[in-house]
């Protein structure tokens, strides 16, 4: 079963994953231009793009535990998952800046400083930028595998921060953001348990 899945995954070319990852985004844009996003298209677009970013970040975090616990290897696709997540983060921020805040720079600046959920969201973006910039094979070679891997652990705080951003943006305490945060923390906890093994190897 696991072998069959891995065999099937080996046949899946990486560019196909990029294409698949772009499908929900393209679908959202199509909906936006055809009035399919409901009464408040701006908020809907902003929210859905943010959720997609979180979902891809979570998928990226799931790669290692899936390999260790289930033997399923998605390693080949991890860069595609990470860059897709980053793409959705950028689109999410772009919609906020352009459609929601409409480049009202003074209000945006105030929000960045005074609204913790925006500050924390921007922090998540800032943590992801160097990871996206060093996502190439060349960057990996230049940095050396150990340093590269160490730096790319920034995805852990970035994802936690993204999850917190979602919890903080909603009113009251609905369940959904906590499910995201729980998934993120669970995937990180799975790594904690393996820390000693990591140190040895």
């Amino acid at each position: 079963m696991v072998q069959a899945i891995n065999a099937a995954l080996r046949r899946l070319p990486v560019p196909a994953v990029y294409l698949l990852a772009a499908v929900p985004g393209a679908w959202l844009v199509a909906l936006a231009f055809t009035g399919g996003l409901g009464v408040d298209p701006v908020k809907r677009l902003e929210r859905e793009l943010g959720l997609l970013a979180l979902q891809f970040l979570i998928l990226g975090l799931a790669v290692t535990p899936l390999r260790r616990l289930a033997g399923i290897s998605l390693l080949r696709f991890r860069r595609a998952l990470g860059l897709s997540a980053f793409g959705y983060v950028l689109l999410h921020v772009a919609v906020w800046l352009a459609l929601d805040m409409q480049f009202l720079w003074s209000q945006i600046a105030t929000d960045l400083v005074r609204r913790p959920y925006i500050t924390i969201g921007m922090a998540a973006l800032a943590l992801l930028v160097p990871l996206a910039l060093t996502s190439t094979d060349r960057a990996l070679r230049r940095m050396g595998a150990a340093a590269w891997a160490r730096m790319h652990r920034l995805v852990y705080p970035a994802t936690v921060t993204g999850g917190l951003h979602f919890v903080m943006v909603v009113k009251a305490w609905p369940l959904e953001p906590f499910l995201y945060l729980a998934a993120i923390l669970a995937l990180l906890a799975l790594r904690l348990r393996r820390r000693p093994a990591l140190a040895r190897g």
Partner: protein, 309 residues
Amino acid sequence: MAERFRPDLRWSDVTPRDAWLSRRRLIAAGGAAAGIALAAPAAARIEAAPSRWSTDERQNSFEDITRYNNFYEFGTGKEDPAANAHRLTTDPWAVVIDGLVDRPGTYDLADVLAGQPMEERIYRLRCVEAWSMVVPWIGFELAGLLSRVGVQPSAKYVAFQTLLRPEEMVGQRSRMIDWPYVEGLRLDEAMHPLTILATGLYGEPMPNQNGAPIRLVVPWKYGFKSIKSIVRISLTADEPPCTWNVLQPGEYGFYANVNPEVDHPRWSQATERRIGDGLLARRRPTLMFNGYAEHVAGLYAGMDLARYY
């Protein structure tokens, strides 16, 4: 205290329902011929007089108003109430009126409405989440009802309560909020002629997701003050608890007056997005007291509105 508005229109001035319905059909036919969809439903029932308190701003469509709701009793998503509120039974409906009143009791809805002049009030609605709409409510002044039941001199506040019925209100099965939803106004706010109890919109009986069969509308306050599906109105001497204020006191005050200068801790209130203006619409500056300052600012003379937010 603001004067109670007495319309110089009489019921005899109101166009008979048959006449305007047939007129509306004509318009609808013309619209259909021209390929234009009418925003409002064609079969209207409630008759209401126009009001001098109405804004002439462009009204949101019936669809905007009924498909984008914050009514957590039916779920936290904006589209949840439209999907879930059909389960709500609104007939029979009774409202308990108690506390510091001369004639307390359980009033059947028809009795609550008896003798109250129905008006169409086209109000701006500003949500605390920094979006806004324009809604043609049908309703009557809360002051009319309070005068009828007799407010005792010791009463200083009015407390309101929403129906608690988890078997029909699916959102109430979540413990996120300490149901039932409660709200309150100072007595002078409650007696202000802008403050209405609404029983319909766009000439229709109130859609369930908008707070059927009877809800409060206080247009100069953030939307969450305008409590929906009311089953209890109590006159009290002390400031009553309000759901959001109890839940997150640092974010939602008792007064909750629309105020562009006092930000919500998590977002600015300086500007707002008008729902229905589309993907590329400009943000609008938020107006003090949601644009009703000339009528209500006097209620808060001398108060520090940053402290009493």
